[in-house]
Amino acid sequence: MSEVKVETKGSKRKTGLPFIDCDIHNEVPSPDALKPYLSQRWRQYMEMVGTRTYHGFAQHIPYPKGNAGGTRQDAWPPNGGIPGSDLNFMRKQLLDPLNMEIGILNCLYRVAEQLNDEFSAALARAVNDWQMEEWLDKEPRLRASIVIPYENAEFAVEEINRVASHPGFVQVLFLPRTREPLGRRRYWKIYEAAENHGLPIVIHFAGLGGNAITSHGFPSYYIEDHTTMAQAFQSQVISMVCEGVFERFPGLRVALLEGGFAWLPSLMWRLDQQWKRLHAEVPFLKRKPSEYIREHMRVTTQPMEEPPKLEYLLQVIEWLGSNEMLMFSTDYPHWDYDSPELAFPAKFPIELKKKIFYDNARAFYRFK
């Protein structure tokens, strides 16, 4: 009869490859946490009117999805807050035990969906100030996205210019269900500002938005919504390429976060095919669409594609035509989190894995 002890966590030593996590979510604990960063005018507005988005007067995000809060069940911090809201618990569960060198925060607080542009801009300022004070200045392993009111380019540019000099901000955040396809002119000033500051823009999976997730309306089930997100990303890639964004802003870099990647090779084939026939319609495209995509765009891995055989996965990566496009991400603390230790098949080629886990993100973000 041997001794039994209740398992203790947090004692695990760091194992596995060092990696850069391109997608971690820090959550605003509650609207009250933003009040110190809002002017009196907007504090009063928040109390009197509150959030007004495409979803009417809803105060909260309509989750659970998958799990309570849309998060890992084991990610609820002991202080009673919501997952992703407690830096100390994030350190204990994610930053300390795993071999992560740099983690990039994408705060999904509902900023750009606000129907009131001025309030949207005020919230963006508050969220970014909160990120600097509560996260970036406290934890050197973390970087973050600048949150912007992207449906109003003028306000978005003001916000980028206001905070871009903070070294913790490494990119500008969009969500995929925008009012118009992201290649269109209403967003160009934002790309110009991002390019001027040397910041990439990223588009991150998000379940909410004014437009339906499919081109034919709203589906019944969450499983459809989650799977169809790839369609939203595809539309954004096609738009940004075909509108000539990468000719006009040759320094612009774009990362697609949590949108999958197995669909990307066939999209590039089809775009190239159509471009050969229709390039007179878009004469500002000087190169094959796939060349813009390979040069300017990166894609994160989570949720990892899980084909039935490893060889299929490697085939897809070969079809991308570049081993520099994929960047590892966990999506902590969300319920579709990928483990750096087990999300990739055991026999995945180690050199390629090193690029995906570290080198590709370091080059894209120009980390030293």
Binding site: S2, E3, V4, E7, N67
Partner: protein, 142 residues
């Protein structure tokens, strides 16, 4: 096969569980309606501590052939373990997954109930869980 006393039967009530460390392995011991089961605390998908997941039932429906496709019923309440990460579901009684019972499962271990004098060796955690000679122990066999 080594025997490990992990708790008294009163310590894990129906619907509850206890996570223990046996021979370097983390194992969840569950009480499902009065019967005890032991599962390895590792999800076969991505290695999450699956035994920390929620315990519930599952919604099933009939078949098109007999006209019961739309007849939904909730069954196996308290018998289904749902992984805390990606929600993969497993039957606690067998460790088998719902979506692929033969190809995807959690390792399980036999569990018996014994008196203190049945198993040899020292009494477990007596300082934390005081027991008496009459009390019954849950024993996991590795």
């Amino acid at each position: 096969m080594a025997q490990h006393r992990v708790a008294t039967v009163d310590e894990i009530r129906p619907g509850e569980r206890k996570i223990v460390q046996l021979e370097g392995r983390s194992i969840g011991v569950f009480n499902v309606k009065g019967t005890f089961y032991a599962l390895r605390n590792v999800c076969p998908h991505q290695g999450a501590e699956v035994c920390l997941g929620s315990i519930g039932g599952m919604t099933v429906c009939g078949n098109q052939e007999d006209g019961t496709l739309s007849e939904l019923r909730f069954e196996k309440a308290g018998e289904i373990l749902r992984c805390p990460w990606h929600g993969w579901e497993f039957e606690i009684r067998t460790g088998k997954s719902i979506f692929n019972p033969l190809g995807c499962y959690i390792k399980n271990y036999p569990v018996t109930i014994g008196q203190k004098d049945v198993a040899d060796g020292e009494t477990l955690r007596v300082e934390t869980y005081p027991t008496s000679v009459e009390e019954k122990f849950i024993i996991v066999h590795l």
